[in-house]
């Protein structure tokens, strides 16, 4: 078994998988990787199952020291990953030797990157998922000095040149695909037009629970009787500001649900940072 020593935790790093299902009925959020596509790809590159836990890192990456040789991969945002100070690439099998240090430099694109480890991190499962969430898992966010264990049994030989085709164009895409939400039809034609023709920008309030948008819509809708919400639900608050609910969101809410991001839309917006621009494009339900 190997161990990762956290020399620096980074801005916000947490273990995530594809989310916690079947406990929503008790009010437990879904959680899971904000950008599920990159999380899956980081595992698939290493021939792991796509649902293996990965380390989600945000904007400023952590500094990690590995105790044993292992293969890893990094997908998602490009945060200048370095092994012992030498720049390495995303979307590749990377070989780590004993005592190697993985660190990160400047953020060149995206917001969140995913570190997968061949054979997987050895972390505890709570309520059917490895995803960290306050009050459910032991840990909520990576701390300095904390340690992460990993399996070293699965030392496979990889064809280092053979890489899985990762299509990460969506990360820089400014178009976020959406479906009409349950209260979409209550909007006026002016509001609908505004919604689909405005360039929105990410506000400073954005985290794993929700992303707020800067531009406000004139809002005359009343709150609704509390109803179900999902990651990707766009709520219209009384002030007219829109909140895009993300993976750690509550299970129910009382604001009108005007849009619903597609899974691709959630992944795309997960790679945006404060001030980034985006536009909604309405999808038709097939």
């Amino acid at each position: 078994m190997g161990e990762i020593e956290v020399l620096h935790p980074g801005l916000y790093s947490s273990i995530q998988d594809l989310g916690r299902t079947n406990f929503r009925k008790y009010g437990v959020p879904q959680s899971g990787a904000m950008d599920s596509y990159s999380a899956k790809m980081s595992n698939l590159i290493l021939s792991n199952a796509e649902s293996f836990p990965v380390l989600e890192i945000t904007q400023l990456g952590p500094k990690l020291k590995f105790s044993e040789p292992i293969q890893i991969s990094i997908c998602g945002a490009y945060l200048e990953p370095k092994i012992n100070g030498d720049l390495v690439l995303n979307n590749k099998v990377l070989s780590i030797e004993k005592e190697d240090v993985l660190s990160f430099g400047k953020r060149l694109n995206g917001c969140r990157a995913y570190i997968a480890i061949a054979g997987g991190f050895i972390v505890e499962k709570f309520l059917g998922s490895f995803s960290w969430y306050n009050g459910i898992s032991e840990m909520e966010v990576l701390d300095k000095g904390s340690r992460l264990k990993y399996s070293t049994q699965e030392s496979k030989t990889y064809l280092l040149n053979a890489s899985i085709k990762v299509d990460d164009i969506y990360q820089t895409n400014k178009i976020v695909p959406v479906y009409p939400g349950p209260e979409y039809e209550l909007l006026s034609s002016f509001q609908k037009k505004f919604l689909l023709e405005t360039s929105f920008h990410l506000d400073i309030n954005n985290n794993r629970m929700a992303i707020q948008l800067k531009e406000a819509l004139i809002n005359k809708l009343h709150p609704i009787i509390t109803g179900p919400v999902l990651p990707g639900t766009v709520q219209l608050t009384p002030s007219g500001k829109m909140i895009v609910l993300m993976r750690d969101c509550q299970t129910t809410g009382g604001y009108p649900r005007i849009l619903q991001l597609s899974e691709d839309g959630i992944n795309t917006i997960s790679q945006k940072v404060v001030g980034d621009m985006l536009r909604f494009r309405l999808l038709e339900i097939k």
């Binding site: 299902t21 079947n22 009010g27 509390t226 109803g227 999902l230 509550q250």
Partner: protein, 234 residues
């Protein structure tokens, strides 16, 4: 709702007839579609069916749900349970009791009587893990939220906000008026299920003294406490 969930809305009202209908249909869907690995949740007047990946043949599924909804016959005697929940309304816990008493011009003892009298219905669980949305608050106890929310409401705090009453399953920021505290654990990630309360169940609050409160707390810690739950026949 998006590419992974189907929302079924009923009349936008809060009442037990709609709740029973919802829960019956929820049960049918869960049984019929057992193999699809779906998750079904209810709120006051909605069912949400969540799929693990993009829904294929959406319109066929919608047709199936339409026929399930129209064929569902609502059995009168819905199986539910009543849970007897101890609450200590001592001033140590009931931070806003005095304020409510002044505002409503009633005695604190009357607040306690009015709050413990009804049999409340659990509509659903949301907001926080283990937070019960309860219906049935006496309208004489309806009171607006605090103008500035508390940064920290204690775990177990029993509060009132507008027409709703509920218990904070863990300490969290909150804007409800706090009238007491229950020593029970409403959500435990280490037990299966993590929450013993279900939509459709009933709750009755029982006033306990401070010494009884601490005794129950101790019993819970030692694993000796048994929540009093019985079959409920409405």
């Amino acid at each position: 709702m998006g590419d992974r969930a189907i929302l079924i809305d009923f009349e936008p009202e809060i009442n037990e007839i709609i709740l029973e209908k919802l829960l019956k249909i929820k049960e049918i869907i869960e049984n019929e579609l057992f193999e699809e690995k779906i998750e079904v949740i209810n709120t006051y007047h909605s069912l949400l069916i969540i799929y693990p990946s993009t829904i294929e043949n959406l319109y066929d599924k919608i047709l199936t749900f339409r026929s399930l909804v129209s064929e569902a016959n609502i059995a009168k005697n819905f199986n539910s349970q009543i849970h007897h929940v101890p609450v200590c309304y001592d001033e140590e816990f009931g931070l806003d009791l005095e304020l409510i008493a002044k505002d409503k011009k009633i005695e604190i003892s009357d607040i306690i009587t009015l709050h413990t009298a009804p049999i409340y219905t659990i509509y659903f669980i949301g907001f926080l893990p283990g937070f019960l949305y309860l219906g049935g608050l006496d309208n004489r106890l309806e009171i607006s939220r605090r103008s500035s929310p508390r940064m920290k409401v204690e775990k177990g705090a029993v509060g009132i906000g507008e027409k709703q009453t509920g218990i904070y399953p863990k300490s969290s920021p909150g804007g409800w008026q706090i009238i007491g505290n229950s020593p029970l654990i409403f959500f435990d990630k280490n037990t299966i299920p993590p929450c013993v309360f279900s939509p459709g169940d009933k709750v009755k609050f029982h006033s306990v003294s401070k010494s009884e409160y601490f005794q129950i707390s101790r019993q819970i810690k030692e694993g000796k406490f048994q929540l009093k739950t019985e079959k409920y026949h409405g």
